[in-house]
């Protein structure tokens, strides 16, 4: 586990996410933000106006900066979304695709 930022220890059931088309290992109980940060993917989205990168900022669901696309639904908070096996996660541009 030395190549990522997870603290050492046995983390339980291993599952797999698809992040921007690539498989990424995750563990049950983690959030999408936890997985992205652990694996060095710290940009969740680009903003609508200035197209600036944003990521995990408040970590408690109040700033909405870490929003991204989860299983096709845009504007989902990475810090509040628990991972699930096979979940598709995509970084978001602007407000994301219309539903």
């Amino acid at each position: 586990m030395s190549d990522d930022l997870r603290l050492a220890g046995i983390r339980g059931r291993r599952i797999s996410l698809i992040v921007d088309g690539r498989p990424v290992t995750a563990f049950e109980g983690e959030t999408v933000a936890g997985v992205l940060l652990a694996t060095g993917r710290i940009t969740s989205r680009r903003t609508p106006v200035r197209e600036e990168p944003r990521g995990y900022y408040c970590g408690m669901g109040q700033c909405w900066d870490c929003v991204l696309i989860v299983d096709g639904r845009p504007n989902q908070r990475a810090c509040m979304t628990p991972v699930a096996d096979g979940m598709r996660v995509e970084t978001q541009a602007g407000y994301g695709p219309p539903p």
């Binding site: 046995i10 339980g12 936890g34 940009t43 106006v49 600036e52 995990y56 970590g59 408690m60 909405w64």
Partner: protein, 462 residues
């Protein structure tokens, strides 16, 4: 759905309120947006396995274990993933749960909404890799994951020190810890520190952890800029001069990959403000807080406020206030009465008075002569709507000096965070431009929904 007491927020204050009221026989509906009870302080991993990872370092969940069982009380209906929607004049409270809008008419309400991080805009503060002290605590406590490898911790207040100590204990390389205040207790107040020896020792312990790992702790020092293209790669730091502004002639650049920013907390007053409760400004408690009587009842009858949302002053105060508010709500219903309830109430009030006498010293240690304005013209101060300091100042210069008007013109505070990350900056800016005190700059009244909810949930009105 029936419930006599609605408790909003399942952190330390809300849990204590729910447990106490339920213990006296009241039926409680406890709502919270998170999947687990505990709030930020008692945050712990949802998975049993994850809880064992460096479980030795995080005893919050252990210390809170007893309190967390409040949700198992048969008198408590705990609804996780529930977002408070609003409180209406006919006494109806509404929240969204499980994709539906739910309405109840409680006989008493305890607001225990917690606090949010005080926004401190500086150039580069929106870069990925710059995050709050609470954010890193949740990453460590809830995810058992580090935010980066080389970390700068900067801010004002005890939570910043706690975050730095936890990072060090988890093995991150903390490059420096910067505290904006002078960080010295006034001499005359020293004896008061002994009122709460346990808390005093805890604070000393955090400093000892930094010292043992040779992490420099600098008082009267701050970040002035975060640099990087797609993520933070460096930070510029500087000492704070006598006038409260950073001395840029002595600025240094640090090579880091993560910045933790914690300039204290702002009470989450959105719910009580939206209910029309009277508020007062108390700088030492984080800003606008509901005015309460000695039973913690607000100016709106039957609405109590407890914990950080009624003055940011730590978990011990939140626990005591939660217990007192839960008791007072149960007394209002008549299920708690007589000498037993009165003795209980008087004991809590005495304990709170001693604690607040101690907190005065903590407030003095971390008091800033003036909150530094670190933003430059092109710094985004409203993260949601991407409004810069220059745009805001263009309008204040033209005489737009009320937060409500500035909001309407610039869209500041209209975004998804509903002003949680910009309103205190907006008020500070207006105060500076008009020579007023922050207490003289009223905030706009929040309107339902207090957090984004889906239209589908409103259509599924249950």
């Amino acid at each position: 759905m029936s419930g006599e007491i609605l408790v909003i927020g399942a952190g330390p204050a809300g849990l204590a309120a729910a447990r106490t009221a339920a213990g006296y026989g009241a039926r409680v509906v406890l709502i919270d947006e998170n999947r687990q009870a505990g709030g930020q302080y008692y945050r712990h991993p949802t998975s049993e396995a994850l809880r064992t990872v460096r479980g030795d370092l995080f005893d919050e969940a252990v210390r809170g274990a007893d309190l967390l069982t409040a949700v198992d009380d048969t008198n408590v209906m705990h609804l996780s993933g529930a977002v408070f929607y609003g409180f209406f004049d006919d006494g109806v409270a509404a929240f969204v749960h499980d994709g539906r809008l739910i309405r109840i008419t409680p006989r008493a309400t305890v607001v225990a909404a917690g606090a949010t991080e005080r926004p401190m805009p500086f150039p580069g503060w929106t870069l990925p890799g710059v995050m709050g002290a609470g954010a890193v605590q949740n990453l460590l406590k809830g995810q058992r994951t580090l935010p980066g490898r080389r970390v700068l911790v900067t801010g004002n207040g005890p939570l910043t020190l706690l975050a730095a100590a936890n990072l060090v204990r988890c093995g991150a390389e903390v490059v420096e810890v910067l505290e904006a205040a002078a960080n010295r207790p006034p001499f005359a107040m020293l004896p008061r520190l002994l009122l709460e020896p346990e808390m005093l020792l805890r604070g000393i312990g955090y400093r000892a952890i930094l010292a043992r790992h040779r992490v420099p702790f600098r008082a009267r020092y701050t970040i002035v800029e975060a640099r990087g293209s797609n993520r933070v790669e460096a930070a510029v730091v500087a000492p704070i001069a006598e006038d409260g502004a950073p001395d840029l002639s002595r600025a240094r650049t640090l090579d880091i990959d993560t910045v933790i920013v914690g300039f204290g907390l702002v009470p989450a007053s959105e719910a009580t403000r939206s209910m029309g409760c009277a508020h007062g400004y108390e700088a030492g408690k984080g800003g606008w807080i509901p005015i309460r009587d000695e039973n913690l009842e607000t100016s709106r009858e039957g609405v109590f406020a407890a914990g950080e949302c009624a003055g940011a002053a730590g978990v011990e105060k939140a626990l005591l206030e939660g217990e007192l508010a839960g008791l007072a709500a149960a007394m209002r219903l008549g299920v708690a009465a007589g000498p037993r309830a009165e003795i209980h109430r008087d004991r809590l009030r005495r304990r709170l008075r001693r604690l607040m006498a101690f907190r005065v010293v903590i407030e003095a240690i971390y008091r800033l002569p003036a909150s530094p304005l670190l933003a430059r013209d092109d710094t985004v101060i409203c993260r949601c709507e991407e409004v810069t300091l220059a745009e805001a100042r263009r309008w204040t210069a033209e005489g737009v000096i009320e937060a409500n008007s500035l909001k309407a013109i610039t869209r500041m505070s209209m975004g998804r965070c509903q002003g949680r990350n910009c309103l205190s900056t907006v008020a500070q800016l207006i105060a500076a431009e008009t020579g007023r005190d922050a207490a003289e700059v009223p905030l706009p009244r929040p309107r339902p929904p207090l957090k984004p909810v889906s239209v589908g949930a409103l259509l599924a009105d249950g």
